[in-house]
Amino acid sequence: MNVRNDFPMLKQNIIYFDNGATTFKPYSVINAIVDYYSNYTANAHRGDYDNSLKVDEKYEGTRENVCQFINASNTKEIIFTSGATDSLNMIVNGFFKYNLKSGDEILITRSEHASLVLPWFELAEQLGCIIKYIDLNEDLKVTMDNVKASVTNKTKVIALAHTTNVVGDIRPIKAITQYAHQQGIYVVVDGAQSVPHIKVDVQDLDVDFLTFSGHKMLGPTGIGVLYGKEFLLKKLKPHNVGGGMNVDFTSLKEFSYRELPHRLEAGTPNIAGVIGLGAAIDYINKVGIDNITKHEQMLKQYAVQKLNSLPNIEVYNPNTKAGIIAFNVKGVFSQDTAVYLNKYNVCVRAGNHCAKMLSEDINVSSTCRISFYLYNTTEEIDYLVSLLDNKDILRESL
């Protein structure tokens, strides 16, 4: 994939395998942000002079862009947030808080990221709801059989990642929503690890809510998206109220709010972030999301095969599709492996990757994770494998 010259970070002498955490930005994204700050700074939704009109065009143009990218039915379903965490908290505290009651069951899995788990934990405590877990199979995947086995007549919502950030399994979301909706169960999907890497069509998947972050898909930090079906978003209470989202208010405390999507975007938004996200989506569209998927899945297969040929390496998720590999060097603590690789300018992440309940299923408390994106190459994998083909990793990490 001929993209490496587009990324200034790749000029450094490093190999970056931590794309599940955040991704590098192409010049087009950086330039779009610089352009806004250098050439047409103005607030959004003011529209009385040329620059502010241009800001509106770019800001609302990105909403249109996002809408098409995930195939939402209209732009009212696209809310800009600070990231997937913000989006998930808005969904849980703005919608489910008013639609669940004591004894209702919330179905998640043990491989979920903290940002999906903790808002539900808090809500369950407040309302007296019950958190239940869909069992993972031996490949750490979610199967429809296990989903069906976990659903009861008290289940009100299934919340899970589309692609998990440690295991890299792509969940059968379409089948889950089909089954869930027959029973009147809502489905909330975190797309933070899927939207950047595979084609996500919210209408085809029929998800009720979808969340994702800009910085994991070549965009800037501090910007993300909350997608919701329009009739659900209409019922979502804004967690922030203030400027930009109201129609009117009087000293008699009479007030009314604007329509979607603005009702859920109080305050001056992250305009530069939105513009940067728009440029990121343009870039992904130019390369083609399907090409990105193919490239990453090729890298994953290539790397798993090579790593499995090393006797000192244990790969925990060889049979999942996404470009994420969780592994350990036998007898070496994950962090020591990461420090060793850092000495050769190879960036991997060690730890539990915010999926702290997963250790209950894989029986190791921490792993090294490599996560690919479109700019990674087989040559980089070869170099990684050559570094891991070493009996003295622990010693050399010191």
């Binding site: 603590f333 962090q335 020591d336 420090v339 060690a350 408390s365 921490s366 622990l394 010693r395 010191l398």
Partner: protein, 139 residues
């Protein structure tokens, strides 16, 4: 001390740490310390009798530096008075932070004297000592 010897000492303490495993005894002061940015997590229990550290035990999961640093700390502090302990702690922190320190009282912990070259490892070398400070505060 050359790098090879330092690595041998660190690995020796990592593979065979002193006093690993906690005891069920209320006369110890027990604390937990962890590095939020990574996964090191250590429980430390310290027994202080007549102003002297008479025992330290630990358990947990941590990298080679944190684990060995805990073992070496235990070796250094057993039988020391609180005043001596505070002095060692002070010199150790200076060494880790690349300040001028008194090598005479650093003993085997000298193996970490160039850890500052790996900033991401400094917090590992300091972890058990952070736990010790917590213990002394609770005393």
């Amino acid at each position: 001390m050359n790098d090879d010897l330092k690595r041998n000492i660190i690995l020796d303490h990592y593979y065979n740490p002193l006093h690993k495993g906690l005891v069920n005894d209320d006369s110890y002061i027990k604390v937990n310390v962890n590095n939020e940015s990574c996964i090191d997590n250590i429980d430390l229990m310290v027994k202080i009798e007549d102003n002297v550290i008479s025992d330290i035990r630990f358990d947990g999961e941590a990298c080679a530096i944190s684990t060995s640093a805990t073992s070496i700390m235990i070796k250094m502090l057993l039988g020391k008075t609180i005043e001596e302990t505070l002095q060692i702690l002070k010199e150790y922190e200076k060494m880790i932070n690349e300040e001028i320190y008194n090598a005479d009282i650093i003993d085997e912990a000298i193996v970490y004297n160039d850890i500052y070259k790996q900033p991401n490892r400094k917090k590992c070398a300091l972890l058990p000592w952070r736990g010790l400070k917590k213990v002394l505060k609770e005393k």
